[in-house]
Subunit: 245 residues, 2 copies
């Protein structure tokens, strides 16, 4: 029984997110499991490093699955890419220790959120950027981002319902880059709560629009109240870039 | 009566090319003319700098049209982008001299052809690159490209049927850039014949594959025979980048 680690990419536009659901066929996990089950001739379950929401993209999602197969890693990669839909692609397959678990062993993740400003359409990027015509105050957003760094209870920045799980996370870095009309937010942290990157981005965008001050961030964190934070930025601008182990 | 010059972009995937046709609605020119006719309340014809084939993209197509409107250039741009489909976008509208003609006044054009090598899918680029898994000899392709520069009769490099029009053109530059798995061909010239960039690329790719020698180029040019040149590279890898006046 081999344990295989894969790195995959997907354009999330057409999917209801990563996680397999009972009622629907249209999830990344579901697509992969049906394919691997066919490939191996036995029921295969695949574990992702984390869920991505409906419409969110991935450049470097990591997943693992256990199965019996005579295929080499190269052959598994070819098989998967041959039969997967064109908006899901596998870029690496490797055999790993029996104990490797893509979610439990993940030490950190990088997400990127892309925003296009201005009133000129961004045709070739439209599927993976959020178009926000109004100008944004990048320096104010950078000042606000600094106040989000470090270890905090991010309860105000998640849509997750009340639960027993910890909402404390550490954000190691938030880079805000500007290139022409594009503003690109890169988040690196030990883990992110449900909707957290999109709410962080929505809050920073509201700072950039002048609707909030950078100095309001500590108060939002302390409130632990979702209503104090900014709007949920649209899924299409978000992509999971990398998972660290 | 104003004469308006526009710069536009399109993802050619879903279209039967630039040129309006009688039998079909699905051309870029047709879409633009229907919209402008509605905007102006009178029949408007739009003239492109040149036709692009079905499936070919544009980052900087130039076109012009004459019409009577009280709208400012900024308002025309907004109107067009509001009603055009999401795979066609206008990035500039300006009023120009009555005599400006986007095709007759064009002095040169830049086309780009993108090729992705390797057996890893290029998910986010798949709509505008040609996937060619086998490795290519870039140095050999550069040597062949050099022999195409300058003024030649490119009759062997067009699918146009026998006609009276000159097939002499000048290619000012062919750059072949490599970035990871991507090989990018950039062509700059005073004008390109029907299918010319795609046949040039197909011929260079065959040199890169070792199926032809760079030194065969002069012979192909001299033959003026389409059958001596390489294959017609797929439309999806090609984009019109810029038109010079």
């Amino acid at each position: 029984m081999g344990n295989y680690r894969i790195i995959l990419q997907y354009e999330g536009t057409k999917y209801q997110g990563w996680q397999r659901q009972d009622s629907t066929e249209n999830t990344i996990q579901g697509k992969l499991e049906r394919l691997l089950t066919k490939m191996c001739g036995e029921q295969v379950e695949i574990q992702g490093s984390g869920r991505t929401d409906a419409g969110v993209h991935a450049y470097g999602q990591v997943a693992n699955f256990h199965c019996n197969t005579k295929l080499s890693c190269e052959e598994i990669l070819e098989y998967m890419n041959q039969y997967l839909p064109e908006d899901i692609g596998v870029i690496l397959v490797e055999q790993v220790s029996e104990r490797f678990h893509s979610r439990l062993n993940a030490k950190g993740k990088v997400y990127r959120y892309r925003v296009m400003t201005g009133n000129i359409p961004h045709l070739f990027e439209r599927r993976w950027v959020y178009e926000h015509p109004e100008k944004l105050d990048v320096e104010a957003m950078k000042a606000a981002a600094k106040l989000l760094l470090g270890t905090h209870d991010f309860k105000a920045f998640t849509s997750a319902k009340r639960g027993k799980k910890s909402t404390v996370r550490t954000i190691e870095a938030i880079e805000i880059g500007q290139n022409g009309d594009e503003i690109c937010f890169t988040y690196r942290g030990d883990g992110f709560l449900y909707h957290m990157v999109r709410i962080l981005t929505g809050t920073l965008l509201e700072v950039g629009e002048g609707k909030r001050a950078a100095q309001d961030i500590p108060e939002i964190l302390e409130s632990k109240n979702r209503e104090k934070a900014g709007f949920l930025a649209p899924a299409k601008g978000l992509a999971l870039m990398e998972v660290f182990y």
